[in-house]
């Protein structure tokens, strides 16, 4: 019996040649289809190659039409299991919801010079540290700087969200990685709104830089917005 690796769920359609050439095909259901490839026995390895292949398939398909990306590593044990999945009413709801949407990820990161800015009001502690660069004074100064940096992050994050909110349908905030990372946001937007988001960011740059840098990735499939409200019961 065949097992399948599930990339995502889409509408019944022609597969682009480049994807079909990779052994990826559709299992059609009613008004929706599972994007799969055949899988040998054993687990899916989280290698660089496999992760990039998963992203490549769903992102290419998303360029032309709606795709609900599956979580990396989703295995279907049989064709019947694929069909059962496609019959869930939630799948139809999600396909309708995301017909015209895309995800943008927006990350903000400071330059190191932000420390000078947030440390500007800490002159007494800085003088003390310069006079006596001890462990204790260093920790006290560093903690104070860290607190102010956290406030600065929160401020800039709300500023960005406020500016973009008229264009954004939904937001998922991730945990920013790294001490200079200000925010890590997944934004669900209409496909037609991407240009407006870019323009709005240009405006924000003028207000916030230096030292905040943005990284905007997308339009992507709605990776962060396909959680089911109510998990299906076995």
């Amino acid at each position: 019996m065949s097992r399948f690796y599930l990339y995502g769920i889409t509408r019944p359609r022609e597969m682009p040649q480049r994807i079909a050439d990779q052994g990826v095909f559709l299992i059609d259901g009613e008004g929706c289809a599972a994007v799969v490839s055949e899988l040998e026995d054993g687990p899916v390895e989280a290698t660089r190659r496999n992760l990039l292949a998963h992203a490549d398939v769903v992102e290419q398909l998303h360029q032309e039409a709606v795709v609900l990306p599956a979580r990396f590593g989703y295995i279907l044990e049989s064709r019947e299991e694929a069909l059962e999945l496609l019959e869930l009413p939630e799948i139809q709801q999600l396909l309708e919801r995301h017909e015209q949407t895309c995800e943008l990820t927006l990350r903000g990161k400071y330059e190191e010079s932000v420390l000078a800015e947030v440390g500007a009001g800490l002159q007494p502690l800085r003088d003390a540290y310069r006079a006596e660069p001890s462990f204790e004074v260093g920790i006290a100064l560093g903690e104070a700087v860290g607190e102010r940096l956290a406030e600065r992050k929160a401020r800039d994050r709300s500023l960005v969200l406020d500016a973009l909110s008229p264009l954004v349908l939904e937001v998922v905030a991730g945990e920013p990685a790294g001490e200079f990372a200000a925010f890590d946001l997944a934004l669900l937007v209409d496909r037609d709104a991407v240009k407006s988001i870019e323009a709005e960011l240009e405006g924000l740059v003028a207000r916030l830089s230096p030292p905040l840098h943005f990284k905007l990735v997308g339009p992507l499939p709605p990776y962060s917005f396909v959680r089911l409200a109510q998990p299906a019961v076995a």
């Binding site: 590593g73 044990e77 560093g142 945990e175 003028a206 396909v226």
Partner: protein, 143 residues
């Protein structure tokens, strides 16, 4: 694939490019249906845990403190450009340099993989810098 705009303050990428993006953007996200999920993964622990560098908050604070002073344009007394934190003497300078190099390497790895450790909630962490931690911070699939 990527381009910079607004004098370099916006990096724009149309798609997730490279492993760092893919890890940040799609790992742990996407459609899962509890009753049907059969996630079997090998290697995900290695990928996320081993490369996630945990920086003890104490170390972070000390670096903040040094950086704030180094970046202070009004600094008058520049006779101690490298604060002698542990008051050890001559060998300390060499050690500081090595430490810096290792740190740079770690940053490069973090940058590359897109996973920094060092979030500010690690108050109970007092591990040495650069020692990766296994277990509790993994982003593994737990279903």
């Amino acid at each position: 694939m990527q381009r910079e705009s607004s004098a370099g303050y916006i990096t724009r990428a149309p798609r997730s490019s490279g492993l760092a993006d893919v890890l940040e953007i799609l790992l742990d996200r996407g459609l899962v249906i509890d009753a049907y999920v059969r996630v079997s993964l090998v290697g995900i622990e290695l990928l996320t845990v081993d490369l996630r560098v945990v920086i003890a908050s104490v170390d972070t604070y000390l670096r903040f403190a040094e950086a704030v002073n180094r970046l202070d344009l009004r600094q008058v007394d520049d006779s101690r450009s490298v604060p002698d934190l542990f008051e050890k003497g001559g060998e300390e300078l060499a050690e500081t340099k090595t430490k810096g190099a290792v740190e740079g390497g770690m940053d490069a790895i973090k940058e590359k993989i897109g996973l920094g450790g060092g979030s500010d909630d690690d108050d109970d962490e007092d591990e040495d810098k650069g020692r990766s931690r296994s277990g509790s911070r993994s982003r593994s699939n737990d279903r």
